[in-house]
Amino acid sequence: MKKPRLCLSPENLALAVFLLLCAQPAFAHPQKGEAVGFLTGFRHPISGLDHVLAMVAVGLWGAQLGAPAIWLLPVAFPMVMAFGGMLGLMGVPIPGIEYGIALSAILLGAAVMFEYRPPLGLAAALVGFFAIFHGHAHGTELPPGQSALLYSVGFVMATGCLHALGIGIGTVHRWGWGQKALRVAGALVATGGAFFLWKAIA
């Protein structure tokens, strides 16, 4: 009799990521201030739709481009975003943050929509450039009285999970209908970005 095997297929991984993202906090025995720091950090990137759109779009685009972009882009974004966060924490001013965030959703969404395939360096530079705006916005909005370490860990993990969500959704790219669905998703991201740009200008 054939034994059932645990298969680490992309579909199973996407399901696992989805289930992990659905998990609620346990609140078992939090140290004073610590769990709050982690949860506040974790919630911060997912609290704004403009950030979520861009981060998921990075995962979608990486999945469209395939290896090595599928892992290089989600590595580049959190690293450069943390650098932007550091600049924000230090009080280094960057002009036009809200425009940059909205433009990131528009351009990354458009890249997914048109399946734009630039050289890897250009794709990483584009993602990294916009990550600075997202990180800076988060860095300047940090609430006081948090555990710096746990806040930072939660913040970076949430960003990575959003990329993973995008990659998980992007695994449908292997099918013809999936490629069309991804392009529609890119169009939706770009439309959302246009809305946020309009809000920033108005």
Binding site: V75, M86, M90, G139, V156
Partner: protein
């Protein structure tokens, strides 16, 4: 001729009831008694993210390079940690410097993300420095006593187990995407270090 079989239910119920009455209190939450110095040390490490994340990073780094590196880190790190803690026992309590804490995150996370091909000697030196520094910080303020030594044993035991589990798990990874996942984890550690650095500058 078949005799009507007696139901065993009353007997089982009686035995079950008696066993339940014999049950001792679990004392799962030892608020009054504590867990003992060994478990205090063990739990102190497991509940201190500023300690456990660099150890995790070093274990990932050693695991990426292979079993030999993993074995070296497995023994050097806990021993250095113990020596550092013993050296710190006579000092006053001191907190980790935020810049150095952030630098450890950046260094170890960056090396894992880059899949840096460090020599065994460099990895050993990193493990030794990390153990001495964090061990010293753990040891400060404890005061020399017999129970302190047991606390340190628990702490070192926890480090040994974490390094063994993490490094061994990484060593046996073969699929390329799993090694990439390890490097992504490293990039997250480094990114956290960058944010901690900004935070440290802001709160100075």
């Amino acid at each position: 001729m078949n005799q009507p079989s007696k139901s065993r239910l009353p007997l089982c119920a009686f035995v079950g009831f008696t066993l339940l009455m014999w049950a001792l209190p679990a004392e799962a939450h030892l608020n009054s008694t504590g867990m003992g110095p060994f478990y205090d040390g063990l739990m102190h490490f497991l509940l201190s993210p500023e300690d456990i994340i660099p150890v995790f990073g070093l274990a990932l780094l050693a695991g990426l390079r292979g079993a030999h590196y993993g074995r070296r880190a497995l023994f050097v790190l806990p021993i250095a940690w113990l020596l550092g803690a013993l050296a710190g026992l006579t000092s006053f309590a001191s907190a980790p410097h935020p810049f150095i804490a952030a630098a450890w995150f950046l260094l170890l996370g960056g090396l894992v993300a880059a899949d840096a091909r460090l020599s065994l000697r460099t990895t050993t030196a990193l493990a030794g420095l990390l153990g001495l520094y964090h061990g010293y910080l753990n040891g400060t303020g404890m005061g020399p006593s017999l129970s302190t030594l047991v606390v340190l044993l628990g702490l070192v035991f926890a480090i040994f187990v974490i390094v063994a589990l993490v490094a061994a798990s990484v060593v046996r990874l073969r699929a390329s995407w799993t090694r990439i996942a390890v490097r992504v984890t490293g990039s997250w550690i480094a990114a956290s270090g960058l944010l901690m650095l900004g935070w440290a500058v802001r709160t100075r």
